[in-house]
Amino acid sequence: MSLDDATVEVVRGSLREVFATGRPVAPALDELGWAEVLEEDPAIATTVLFGEQGRALASSGLLADTMLAELPGYAPGTHTLLLPHPRLGAHPGPTGVLLASTAEVVVVPRATPDGVVLATIERSSLVTRPAGGFDPGSGWQLVTLGAALQPDSVPVGAAWERAVATGRRALAAEIIGVCTAALELAVTHTSVRHQYGRPLGSFQSVRHQLAEAHAALEAARVTLDVAWSAAEDVAAWAATVAKLRAGATQSTVLRRTVQVLGAMGITLESDMHRYVSRGAALDALLGGHLRLADEVGSAALAGADLHPVVTI
């Protein structure tokens, strides 16, 4: 039950084309028969899909759709999910982020003493404003909820935790996609650009910075693979670690790619600033790496069993 390498390459190629053309992603995925691919191998399918979205710096509601799939009773397409505000990590609260989506019904998670419950609300009745920040290209909207939620709150129990884990794995893949593209750009630039009569990439300080970026990125990739293969009882923990690692990696990788681009790295002529902004923005969703490091560290100190995740 897994995709062979050749199929993965075909799928990747098709997705890259979809994102490159800027077409709406959901119908394009239907055309590709995505549901079947996803069922065949959710790990690779999700990783490739979000990796390509990150590489293309595209914006969509795919993250919400992927999380909704874990929450029974809501159909992606007609529904989208309100994500917790970055300030809240993965804990639903009175404010949230709406991704770029055309869905008319918003599924709103709320934290109660008995766990997370879900309610639905018409999108048109929500007051939204652009998230702004430094990645206006994300297309995110900020929502502050009033009291006027519909009363059909449904308790979802452990499903919320599964949805967050799914979301974190998807985000880790997307961050890795962003970093991969940034690193490729940096490698191309330093291979082509000559200073002192040599390609920049032939200078040790440049090579070593790129090598460090590469090593960090590969470590993040492996951590994500491990998270996908983690047993069910530790899946949430493993997904948290994968998201943490990817978030920390974007900081490591993008600082170095900006530096080796020299003056070019800070102009808008180069795409590098977009990778920087998107990387930081994605890191903030469902718990930034510093916050997650704090959570994981606290859990470890409180005696959490680390073995299931690290066994490879």
Binding site: P86, G132, G133, Q195, G262, A263, I266, T267, H273
Partner: protein, 438 residues
């Protein structure tokens, strides 16, 4: 106490020859400043969260009219300084200077820092600090008389036309052509990273005059009147959204030969005069809003405002940043003391520059961590969004005045005496002349 230990209690350092005139100078400068400027209230260093200027990026990215007004204010203050004898403290009197020592200059800067006066960086950092000394050293007499007084009066702002798309840190790689035509030179090429070009009346252009020579030879430098036909300045947008830098296109710009700096094909030496001033000035220069933001007071206020006063991890990172920041301040004070004692500063100046960019990067990343998600998804909170600009703008600092990598090469080779990398391109002709060129 034995023979070889310090034998006697030292007498206080004997007064140097100039110290009495320094005292008089301090008196004169203080009187001037009292009359023309307002003393800063004491304790302005203290930051109260939510109050005051919330813009901290190193590079201004205000709307053009605000930018223009600041430049006008800078020119006006420079003129006032000049009229009262503080415009060019170290300059020769025949060009409007006071012919005093660098120490007087430092003393004046220290005094002026206690007053609320317009920031004149747009005039002084590059024009007066770097191009002025170059003109003084390498221009003809009539050119010195024509431009130096105007520059130090604030009438002429000067910019560097140095970097090019193919010549960044490796400046000797410039390709902008200078071709002699009688008593004129014809300049063609593209310059990038020229800060303040959009305000400048003058530019110093480094051009390729003889491509058949090795790259460090065959370069000639010129003073270019920025209003000449064929000079076009275009803003270059940065990651921060601002446009402090420009591209400058030179198309058949005709420069009189008397505007040449130094000898024909000897421009590299001229350029080194300019660059040595740059590497000295970038690290030490008080960066205004940045200095305020990358300060103990600001960062501590931020720790409290973000509710992190008891967060062990945030406290630790803050302490690390503040320790380096304070120690770098000590280093700079010691360099100043060395100068005041009349001794030559040592290699610590290059360490100071690296620490400056290190501290700035560390402080802005710390701030980004403290502000956290607010920086990404929200605007409007005082002190949060502006850190965005600094976070994205920091790389520029690390590239200014030579990238950190180049600075480390300089330390490694000139300070520590490590061998150079074997050069591959210092002997070969820059580029074989092609048929199309005369």
């Amino acid at each position: 106490m034995t023979a070889s230990a310090p034998a006697t209690p030292a007498t206080p350092a004997s007064p140097t020859a100039s110290s009495s005139s320094i005292e008089a100078f301090v008196e004169e400068a203080s009187a001037f400043l009292d009359e023309h400027a307002t003393r800063r209230p004491t304790g302005t260093g203290r930051v109260v969260w939510g109050e005051g200027e919330d813009r901290i990026s190193y590079f201004g990215d205000e709307p053009p009219e605000v930018d223009r007004a600041k430049v006008d204010a800078a020119r006006a203050w420079q003129r006032t300084r000049h009229e009262h004898g503080f415009g060019w403290i170290t300059g020769p009197t025949e060009y409007g200077g006071r012919a005093l020592s660098p120490l007087h200059d430092l003393v004046y800067d220290q005094l002026e820092a206690g007053y609320d006066v317009p920031d004149t960086g747009v005039i002084s950092l590059i024009g007066l600090g770097m191009i002025g000394p170059t003109i003084l050293a390498h221009a003809r007499e009539e050119i010195k008389q024509r431009y130096l007084p105007a520059m130090f009066r604030g009438d002429a702002i000067a910019c560097q036309l140095f970097s090019e798309p193919g010549a960044g840190s490796d400046l000797a790689n410039v390709a902008t052509r200078a071709v002699r035509d009688g008593e004129e030179w014809v300049l063609n090429g593209q310059k990038v990273w020229t800060s303040v070009a959009h305000h400048a009346e003058l530019g110093m252009a480094v051009c390729r005059s003889d491509p058949s020579q090795p790259k460090h030879r065959g370069i000639t430098a010129f003073l270019v009147d920025m209003s000449l036909p064929g000079v076009e300045v275009r803003p270059l947008r940065q990651m921060t959204g601002g446009a402090e830098f420009n591209e400058v296109f030179l198309t058949d710009v005709r420069v009189p030969d008397d505007h040449r700096l130094g000898e024909v094909d000897d421009g590299w030496r001229v350029t080194m005069t300019t660059l040595m001033s740059e590497r000295a000035s970038v690290g030490g220069e008080g960066a205004g809003p940045v200095e305020r933001a990358v300060s103990r007071s600001y960062l501590t206020a931020m720790l409290e405002a973000m509710g992190l006063s008891r967060d062990a991890a945030a406290r630790r990172r803050l302490a690390e940043v503040l320790a380096d920041l304070t120690a770098t301040g000590y280093l700079n004070q010691q360099s100043l003391r060395t100068l005041l004692d009349g001794r030559a500063p040592g290699p610590e100046a290059s360490a100071s520059k690296l620490m400056f960019s290190h501290n700035l990067a560390a402080a802005s990343h710390l701030a980004a961590e403290m502000v956290g998600p607010r920086m990404i998804a929200e605007t409007g909170d005082w002190g949060t969004f502006s850190w965005n600009e600094l976070l994205l703008g920091t790389p520029a600092l690390r590239i200014l005045g030579g990238t950190e990598e180049i600075m480390k090469n300089i330390i490694g080779e000139r300070v520590l005496g490590l061998p150079k990398e074997p050069g591959t391109d210092t002997k070969a002709p820059f580029r074989a002349p092609t048929g199309e060129q005369s």
